[in-house]
């Protein structure tokens, strides 16, 4: 992990000098994580890809403002957060999340049914709670990093996450009860 951080720092240093190839390497390391984070927020693959491209473009243009290259990840996700919410605000009427249909009642759940159940459970969360879950469960950020990305106190991050987990544990309990095929 330390070696990776050093490499990222070196790539950032080169990209700051205008080395696009170095920046492309950096993009290739982070694009999937950023895309999935955005995709889980906006719920649309093409929109997710467009926003991801915008995020990396803005990140390149503002690399000089990144004070600590070791904090590139949270800094990048902060941009992704802003861009995602910008899109959500713009397309709010069209992108209101609709609850996926309830899976058919089977003794055991198919993987697709598990996915639908997860989508339904996530859709019941508020946007803030959903984002907290994505950052913690799927992206593995620490509370301090989430605080930086979401630009809010750690206590707020914890509150959102705790509430979300309370809701999710109830919503996802049937998965364990019925098992997965």
């Amino acid at each position: 992990m330390i070696f990776r951080e050093v490499e990222d720092r070196d790539l950032i240093h080169k990209a700051r000098k205008g080395n696009v190839d170095a920046y492309n390497v950096l993009v290739s390391r982070w694009e999937k994580r950023v895309f999935n984070y955005i995709y889980r927020l906006v719920g649309h693959r093409e929109d997710g890809l467009d926003v991801t491209q915008d995020v990396f473009l803005k990140a390149y243009q503002n690399l000089g403002k990144l004070e600590d290259p070791a904090r590139f990840g949270p800094w990048l996700f902060r941009i992704a957060h802003n861009e995602s919410y910008s899109l959500l605000r713009k397309n709010r009427p069209e992108t209101e999340l609709t609850e996926p249909p309830a899976p058919a009642h089977n003794p055991r759940m198919l993987p697709i049914e598990v996915s639908i159940t997860i989508e339904r459970a996530m859709a019941r969360l508020s946007a803030d709670q959903r984002e907290a879950v994505v950052l913690k469960i799927y992206q593995g950020f620490k509370f301090e990093e989430m605080s930086e990305i979401l630009s809010c106190p750690v206590s707020t991050v914890k509150s959102r996450l705790y509430t979300a987990l309370d809701l999710l544990k109830d919503a996802l309990a049937p998965v364990k009860a019925r098992g997965v095929e």
């Binding site: 205008g18 999937k32 890809l49 390149y60 469960i137 509370f143």
Partner: protein
């Protein structure tokens, strides 16, 4: 340790320090409520984690264009020769501005003094050279006059000598003729006898 759902969540999410983790684990072993709560949280976490990341529709790659080109100040800052050249230009501009804006009281006086000195030197040099040139020109003119005079005198003397010799010749001829006429008048018989051939 008292039952605390939030601490259980922190434990589940890996946000508790090591000693606190041991405390939670010890509590969960003896507390059925917290044990069941932790189990439900673990289930939710596991189910969520079973939803894998999706692949991107397309990979993202950037090419160098005007948007990505660094600004002029970045190129300047990142290039030692350019930075050096710019520094030299700034230094030259500073010197130029300083030279144009600073007061220069001594320069006009120095210039006036130099002009006067130059004029004095020119005047002295002219004064020194003109008499010499005039004297030289007069000498050359005198020499030319003397030469011409000598030539004319020589020519006159030659002409005079020629005329004198011509006069002498003429005089001698006239004298000889006169002498013969005188002789003829004084000695007629001699002259007649001389005119008869001898027998």
């Amino acid at each position: 340790m008292n039952c605390s759902p939030d601490v259980l969540k922190d434990y589940l999410l890996g946000e508790l320090p090591g000693p606190d983790c041991l405390t939670v684990e010890a509590h969960v072993r003896v507390c059925l409520t917290c044990s069941e709560e932790l189990e439900r949280l673990r289930t939710a976490q596991a189910v969520l984690a079973s939803s894998p990341d999706v692949e991107m529709p397309r990979r993202i790659s950037f090419v160098s264009d005007r948007v990505f080109e660094p600004g002029w100040w970045q190129r300047l800052w990142n290039s030692a020769p350019r930075l050096g050249f710019a520094s030299a230009m700034v230094l030259a501009a500073a010197i130029l501005v300083h030279g144009l804006t600073r007061p220069a009281p001594a320069v006009p006086e120095a210039t006036a003094y130099s002009q006067e000195a130059v004029e004095a030197r020119i005047e002295a040099e002219v004064s020194r050279r003109i008499p010499a040139a005039v004297a030289q020109a007069v000498a050359e003119h005198d020499a030319r006059l003397r030469t011409e005079m000598a030539r004319l005198v020589a020519a006159s003397e030659s002409k005079l000598n020629f005329e004198r010799r011509a006069d002498l010749v003429t005089f001698e001829q006239a004298f000889t003729l006169l002498k013969k006429q005188v002789d003829m008048l004084q000695y007629p018989r001699l002259a007649s006898s001389e005119m008869v051939p001898s027998r």
